[in-house]
Symmetry: C2
Subunit: 290 residues, 2 copies
């Protein structure tokens, strides 16, 4: 039996997020055995071959059997089904946490699947990831110095939060706590809306006549701007469906601001444009030093 802080970790969805956590915890000596579970055996075999997990099961209840910590890193649309499937095999003291990009929906899914929020349930969200996906893209440093937001609810036991916090810290992350609803609003603003805008721009241009030529003239700024449009479409469909209200609200606010800018362009109002661009540059330069 391992004497690592986590004896057996079960990971659902062994892709970039789940796989990188596995690699980081293994490197830190924080975990004994890692068991993978997903719908596709081919992915899991690849994860075993890459040394990311020790073994796998296609049966969720079997995968969580004897696990003291369970990490669920599947698209938001699959959360509830995964919770339901693992339920029969769960140790009553098991810690269950996740990596979903929206949190209210995960809390709702857990409540529906388990009949209540188990005290070991700690909703979480690592603010990390790249536009790549899949276990082959996983690497142990993904979470180094990145933020992880935990959004414990009333029913969550403080000891469970402490264990999940320690796990993420072992992976190199800075852990913070936030209220569920507030998390969903902040992420709609800083992540979900930008992804919508980038997907929208690339799709808008791809639908133009002569789009081949147009993309040829796309320079560095365009590449940076649209990099997030290479992200996983299924994951983003699920985020849109599951964080709908916050995304719609932020986007409406953004569109109103964009309309103001277009009105200034239409009227040749250089003063307003200079004001908007200067304020944006100052904010960007202040908050991001690259």
């Amino acid at each position: 039996m391992s004497d690592a802080p986590i004896r057996r970790l079960a990971i659902f969805g062994v892709g970039l997020i789940g796989g990188s956590l596995a690699l980081a915890l293994r490197k830190a000596g924080f975990v004994g055995e890692i068991v993978g579970c997903s719908r596709r055996a081919s992915h899991l075999r690849e994860a075993v071959e890459l040394g990311v997990i020790d073994r796998y099961s296609l049966d969720a209840a079997e995968a969580v059997s004897g696990a003291d910590v369970v990490f669920v890193a599947v698209p938001l649309g699959a959360m509830r089904q995964v919770f339901e499937a693992m339920r029969p095999g769960l140790d009553p003291d098991a810690i269950i946490t996740d990596g979903g990009s929206a949190k209210q929906c995960v809390v709702d899914d857990a409540r529906a699947a388990f009949g209540r929020i188990p005290p070991g349930f700690v909703p979480g969200h690592p603010i990390a990831g790249t536009e790549k996906s899949g276990v082959a893209a996983a690497f142990p440093e993904l979470y180094a110095n990145r933020r992880v937001i935990l959004t414990p609810v009333e029913e969550t036991a403080p000891e469970a939060v402490a264990r999940v916090r320690a796990m993420w810290q072992a992976a190199g992350a800075e852990v913070e706590e936030m209220e569920v609803h507030h998390h969903d609003e902040v992420l709609a603003a800083t992540s979900h809306l930008p992804h919508m805008l980038a997907f929208g721009l690339v799709d808008s241009l791809a639908r133009l006549r002569d789009n081949d030529e147009i993309f040829r003239y796309a320079a560095g700024g365009f590449r940076d701007f649209t990099r997030i449009a290479s992200s996983d479409p299924v994951m983003w469909r699920d985020i849109c469906i599951h964080n709908r209200d916050a995304i719609l609200e932020m986007t409406a606010r953004y569109q109103a601001d964009l309309n103001e800018m277009m009105q200034a362009i239409e009227q040749g109002d250089g003063e307003t444009l200079l004001e908007i661009f200067s304020r944006a540059k100052a904010a960007r330069d202040r908050f991001c030093n690259d």
Copy 2:
């Protein structure tokens, strides 16, 4: 007297764009003497100290005197005034080219300032630059393997185009020709619209309550997406004013597409969202390999 292909090059606006061309041509042995001109002596003194230009004049006519090539790299809003000011000193055989991000307005300004388009006038646009500006940011490799678009008009002499083409090739760029109006449309799509969206997003978030907190959770994707919002506000004000119609048209098209996407989110239409995101990802992955 230098026997370099360009004996004396006059540069108006010795910042990132003008300064990098100077450094590249000097490195390639393509230019004899480089004379700088701008409104501020402090910038020009810095450019001399950095070895970017040999000498400077605050008088435009004096700066172009004896120059066989003149490169104008000032914000679009300053083009006409610069053309007018240099006119008395121009050699009748001088080549005049520019680096403006929109071309119809530069052609109009040249026609107004010179009374006609001089045969040596070659409108141009290097598709290069970073979100940095100023001569201290200039470097000789800025144009290496980047595209430069020349948009000669009816009055432009083919020999002038050939000389400007050779100049940019000496700086490492790939040179292409395009019709003026088409250039302005393509750039509105690939550069001007993305900048508007990035400036708009950062400004929108900066105007939210708790914006300090919001920016703290901005991860890598947000940084990439908003990097272009650090660009020079004056330059972008001028681009908006001078490429107004193409920008308004592209943005209206984009807003219609974004509205469609929001409608799909509102209706929980996962199929449409998956279609949009998949199409965008495929286009991004096809055209940009990073």
